[in-house]
Structure formats: structure tokens, C-alpha cells
Symmetry: C2
Subunit: 245 residues, 2 copies
Amino acid sequence: MLENICIVLVNTTHPGNIGGVARAMKNMGLSDLCLVAPKLFPHEDAVARASRADDLLDNALVVETLDEALADCHLVVGTSARSRTIPWPLVNPRELSAIVAPLPADTKVAILFGREDRGLTNDELQRCHHHVHIPVNEDFSSLNIAAAVQVITYELRMAVVEGQDSVDKPQWGTDWDVELADNRELELMFEHLEQTLIDVEFLDPDKPRNLMPRLRRLLLRSVPDKVEVNVLRGMLTAIQKKQQP
Amino acid sequence: MLENICIVLVNTTHPGNIGGVARAMKNMGLSDLCLVAPKLFPHEDAVARASRADDLLDNALVVETLDEALADCHLVVGTSARSRTIPWPLVNPRELSAIVAPLPADTKVAILFGREDRGLTNDELQRCHHHVHIPVNEDFSSLNIAAAVQVITYELRMAVVEGQDSVDKPQWGTDWDVELADNRELELMFEHLEQTLIDVEFLDPDKPRNLMPRLRRLLLRSVPDKVEVNVLRGMLTAIQKKQQP
């Protein structure tokens, strides 16, 4: 299970932090590292901080866009330091682990970590099913990115390997009989939804307000499977066909 | 409660690690840092890695011996990467937090972290009531010292501040009506015990084997209170008085 969890670092500035993340991951038994448009990589500082986890750096997937990073992922989780304008399903690392541990073994999970200074953008956070927040001292809340990866991967290891998840398992992950939708399928569905809402003039592209974010949050929270997404797409197609020319 | 938990770094080699520890502590709301014979301190690398947690470095207690560090502590916990020749009560960070959280609020707890390359010595580990081990990937188990502090202090924060301790609370910490013995009292008691055992020729100072470590483990595991220590001391005095000249 741990090998299906991908740590995705978005626009990391300091290569030393990438190395620190690799070391933290390997300590906890994770190996899948993805770098979205890193500022400097490969870099000697990354190798130095990685200690003997440099194999994770060698095997890291480096991509230009978050879309490429997430294409085959089923569950996307964003790390969030602040509360945002639109509240999103927010869990702590232990609750996250209790969500991840009972998922079918072939579920691919991505956990996104943002820039050292600004974290993830609102657009990036709205790609996520859940947000995870590490409870910190509010007077000194800026956690080093490798430290944040260490805490979250520790909790995942505790739940998956040690079987010490303490939170009741969520309903939806257990005994699932249909494969979960992957991110590409979900994004195509949201594009379809948005276009349909524009078509029916419910959504004004010049004044979108928070309509799509709210719908994303609603649908992502349920972690739809492939059949559900197909049903939604079929519904949207039907709506589009039925509208007045 | 968190302010009564002291992080004790023993013979740290790299000052950058001291800074990383300070940052990890402050993120989780701890402030009491003690340095036993650090190799280089103060040092600019410590300040750099501490980010804005340099107030913890300014206020750190720097001492020459572990005795000075532990004198007023009631519960001493040592971090241990390896299993030792003599097994000691071993907990993971979550179980440790479940032990610490219900302690009386004025209990002073020390958590010891050893050298980057060799950890704590057997003598140092035998000063401890419990050992704590972070479950790691056994193929890559060398955790950076700041990462280890991050994980342990995160669990303490989760238990103390967030109230999410998941393990049943131990019997002995709750509703305690006598103050726990502090480390100075315990060490005097062990000295007294050792001398008494030598006096009675049960312990051969030239062939001590593991007698004292086994007795330490037995007594420390029960986390004695002041009255119990006084009873033990009184017993030892009585034994010494009664021996043949």
C-alpha cells in the first residue's frame, strides 16, 4: 500500500528540501516521488540532504504540470497551512491515514506539498479530494517541508504497516466493488460539468464566483468511482442534448 | 504540559541539527531544550536551521553531564534505534504520548536523543524509565535527529493538546496522590542500592555483569514516587546497618 502513495512536490525552491523529503519518505517506506517544475533539480544539495535515499531522487518523476503528476491518481490530498476562503474537507494526518489505509490496494494516492513560501494555490487545492493540516503551534506554524512529509508519512506507516489507525474507518473505502475514478476521469467530468453549466447559462464565465469550487468540493468529498463518473457524464450529455439551440 | 517536556540532546555533533530540533520543537509547542556537551554551540548553522525558533537556542540550557540535565526530571525517556542486549520497556511515540499525557501537570519529562552516529550509550539508556522507538523502514532506519524530534513531539502534541491519544491510559499515571520521585532522588537511591549490594557481597564490583541494569529496569518501569523511594532507601539503610562488620 505504501508504494502506491506518491509524494508530489509542487514548485519546490530549495533542492535541499527535495533531498530531505526523499530521506523522510524512505525512512517510512515510501518510494514514489514526483516533482512538478522544481526550481533546481537535479542538484548536489538534494543528494546531500537525501543521505542514502538518493535512489528516490534518481527515480523521481519530474513533470511540468500538476495534470501530468495526477493523471493516474485516484485520491488527491493537498497539504494546507491556512484555512481558505472556501472550507474544504480538512483532516489531520491521523484522520488522513484512517482514510487511506482501508482503500483497495491498487488505489493510487497523491499527496501534494506546495512551495516553501506560499504553499499550494487555491486552484491546486481545489484539485484535491481532501486537505490535510498538521496541528501545529499557531504562533509558529511554518513547518519545514521535509518535516511535514515526515509527520504525514509516519502516520501513514503507523496506519498501514503498524495497523494502529485510531480513527473509525470511513464508510466509503471499505468493500468497494468498483474501481475509483482516477484524476483524469474526474477532471474530464468537471470540464464537462462546467461546460454544461455554461451551456445552460447557470454559470457565467465572466462572473464565475465560487460555483465550480463548491461543486468540486461536493463531488470530490464522495470520492466517486468509475461507474458514478460515467453516470454523471451521461447525465451531462443528456442535459446538453436537451437544451434549446 | 508541553512546557514541562524537555528535549535533551546528548553530544550532538552538527550544530545544524540543534537548530532543526529547535524548529521542530517550537512547531509543536515545546520550548525547553537542553544540550549535554554539544560539539559546537552556539554556532551560525544552528541559527540558520532554527528559522525563527532561535529563541529556543538562546534559552537552551547547556551542561557538561547528563546528571545535570536530568536532576529535576521525574520521567526520563531515551530514544533507541536498536534493540539492546537487555530489553527495556519499549514504546512507540504514540504509546509514549499515552503515558505522558495523563501525568500530573507539574511532572517534568526529559526525552533524550543521542549522537548522530551512535545514539545513546548503554549507560545513558539505563538511566531511562522507558525507551521510545519510531517504527521505520528497517532497510533505511537512520532517521535525522530533527526528524525524530518532529515525530515524537507531534505525537505528544496530538495527545496533550488535541486529546487524540489512542492507547489506553496506563494505570500508574492517573490519580496519583504523591509526587513522583525526580531523577536525582532515583539516582541516589540506585547508588545506595548498589553500595548496599556490594556491602552484602551480592554484587562483585569487578564482575558486575548486568545486575544493576536489571534492577534499574525493574524499578524504573514502575516510575516510583517520593514515598516509595524513601521506603526503599530506609530499607537499604536498615540492611546496611544489619550487616556483619
